[in-house]
Symmetry: C2
Subunit: 383 residues, 2 copies
């Protein structure tokens, strides 16, 4: 056995007790032995995405969180409000590993040639339980990174890149020619902006603040609207009319923004209407809510005719729908453009224990643009 691989290693766990308490801790678990078609990856970079926070924090009130234990083995506890316990029914009293995606070095491989071929290579992987020092996974699920790529560069290979590509793909498949994106200054939003510039697809970026608008404009974005502008609706309608966007991907979810986008699309379409229809434009307008940055209720005034839809959008059902061949094409594009189109930027790099410090949780828990944490579960551990 490779002397550098320990028998036991750390894995982050999230547990919601029936009593209404969330507990996040670092468990010491056996490092698994890869089967013939598997590899053991020493995880060196795994991002904290908004899509990880649901499982990590559950429905707990993190403003009341307490951190106990030692600096190396912190234990986070927080109360789950009674009204949210119903939604936790499926995970009660089950200690769950967390972390959608990550990257690292293959330190051990099963006997199969495909597994052996990856030994010593840097790979990106997806499949949960990435907030851990080691992750055993099937060789075929690994995306081998270019030789000059670091684990940090490949850590966010799947969720953001495939989501951004999936939006453009959904736009095309559903018969639209331009799209809208909210929370557009996020890592994902900047990535989508780069894709759209490259693919010559018109993109209407919606951000909250002027400095976010400036950032996107500096990156070549043509249409950027900021909700903090007093003329937001007029500016949005102009951008929608100029771009022809009739589909939107909204990361916010709560509040009035999704409805405002539909209202703006309808107003843009009616600028060129020749005849009055009390049912509004016959062009279908769609908003997909793919995130929940605002957990408040969604509210809209239905001032956009009858040809409209709103709905959930999620990466994995989308990939299933388009099938393995189409999904593989998207993955290959990500690997080929890893350091350009699909580059991610992190504001902080922490260890597993560091991710459970109160200040860190407060920072990434805000889901704020510009704050993005990368965990290196082997930070400070000699490789």
């Amino acid at each position: 056995m490779n002397p550098r691989i320990p028998a036991k290693a750390l894995q982050l766990r999230s547990l919601v007790r029936r009593s209404g308490e969330l507990e996040i801790s670092l468990a010491e678990v056996d490092v698994p032995e890869p089967a013939a078609d598997e590899v053991l990856v020493r995880i060196e970079a795994t991002p904290i995405n908004p899509s990880d926070l649901g499982l990590l924090f559950g429905a707990a009130d993190m403003s009341s969180a307490k951190v106990t234990g030692s600096a190396e083995r912190p234990v986070v506890t927080a109360p789950v409000p009674e009204k949210f316990m119903k939604g936790m029914a499926g995970r009660l009293d089950e200690s769950m590993p967390v972390g959608n995606e990550g990257a690292g070095v293959v330190v051990k491989a099963g006997s199969a040639p495909a597994a052996q071929a990856l030994l010593g290579k840097t790979v990106a992987i997806i499949g949960g339980a990435m907030y851990a020092q080691y992750r055993c996974i099937k060789a075929e699920q690994c995306l081998r990174l270019p030789d000059d790529a670091t684990p940090a560069e490949g850590a966010s290979c799947f969720v953001n890149p495939l989501t951004a590509l999936g939006m453009v793909e959904t736009m095309k498949r559903e018969g639209h020619s331009a799209l809208v994106h909210t929370a557009a200054a996020s890592n994902l939003g900047q990535m989508l902006n780069r894709i759209c510039i490259q693919d010559k697809v018109a993109l209407v970026n919606i951000v909250r603040k002027k400095d976010q608008a400036d950032l996107l404009k500096a990156q070549g974005a043509k249409f950027v609207c900021s909700t903090d502008s007093p003329n937001f609706m007029a500016e949005l309608t102009d951008a929608l009319a100029a771009s022809g966007a009739t589909i939107a991907f909204d990361a916010i979810g709560g509040g009035k923004l999704a409805g405002q986008i539909l209202t703006g699309m309808e107003a843009a379409l009616n600028r060129n209407a020749k005849e009055y229809s009390r049912y509004g434009s016959t062009t279908h307008k769609q908003v997909y809510l793919y995130g929940m940055l605002d957990t408040a209720p969604t509210e809209f005034a239905r001032s956009f005719g009858m040809a409209w839809g709103m709905g959930g959008w999620l990466l994995f059902p989308f990939l299933q729908k388009i099938g393995p061949a189409a999904a593989q094409k998207l993955r290959e594009r990500v690997a080929a453009e890893l350091k350009t189109t699909f580059a991610s930027h992190y504001s902080d790099e922490v260890s597993l224990a560091g991710a459970l410090q109160a200040s860190a949780m407060a920072a990434y828990g805000k889901r704020a643009t510009g704050v993005k944490y990368l965990i290196n579960p082997n930070k400070g551990v000699a490789a």
Copy 2:
């Protein structure tokens, strides 16, 4: 020329002036001469459907309406609140005829054989401008009624019957096996209940009051939930679990009901879930908003996973989507079951002038279950 056909006749008109005033009046218009492929129908029955009120009243504040003019030629005026004038832009200063559907007797026909064949027959027609004493229309657009059917029996042949059939058809085409309907004690709701009983499709009826629930149960409805019950959500979830309904048609539009239906569907699906998924059930849940009985904003809490959709649903785009052959099949079923499945009931029958009396407008303007007006534009006129 047939001496019984006058040279001029009455037609109801709705006008929204740029100054912000609605005016409804009876215009005296030339009775048209049918072209070769057209017929002239003496309208004897035309319903006031919720779908007519949008064009009739515009966005006016009808609580401030005034009726002037004579009893035979009333003129209704009402102010349009400034904030709604934007939505009226397409119809400003244009005097518009009203009335989606109606029935009457063909009193004159063009030279084409298809037109001549209808002379003297009772027909149902759709196409707007039915709130008039005479309507000229293409012969091919007429649905000839059975010989023993009166115009009143055929007046609501299209909108409600095809909408109800369209809901069941949409349910099947989108892969669902049971459906939910709100405002279920309406004429349309009772019709849908009869269709579902006949076609053995499980239907969850949502009503506002116990007496409406009793009415539907007396008509054989199996699942009826009333929003005035203190256990509404639990009762709805039980009905959704028992029926397996994953698509809903909502006539209300505003408020929380559409979201509650999705929440209930998700809870019903999760009763049998084997594994926890933080993204919720993978079964797609859909609510179509086809009406606006409540014009308040729509609000929902997104407590139903990611596999959901909400959207507008409208009869005519639906008929276009399924194509003429499938639409014709639906129409033939309506004609065949006119006096049974598709029978409509009216609380009041009025003349054109009677429809513009303050008490009448207050009654049908409420869109209340059990109140349904039928206009006979030739009421009291010798045939």
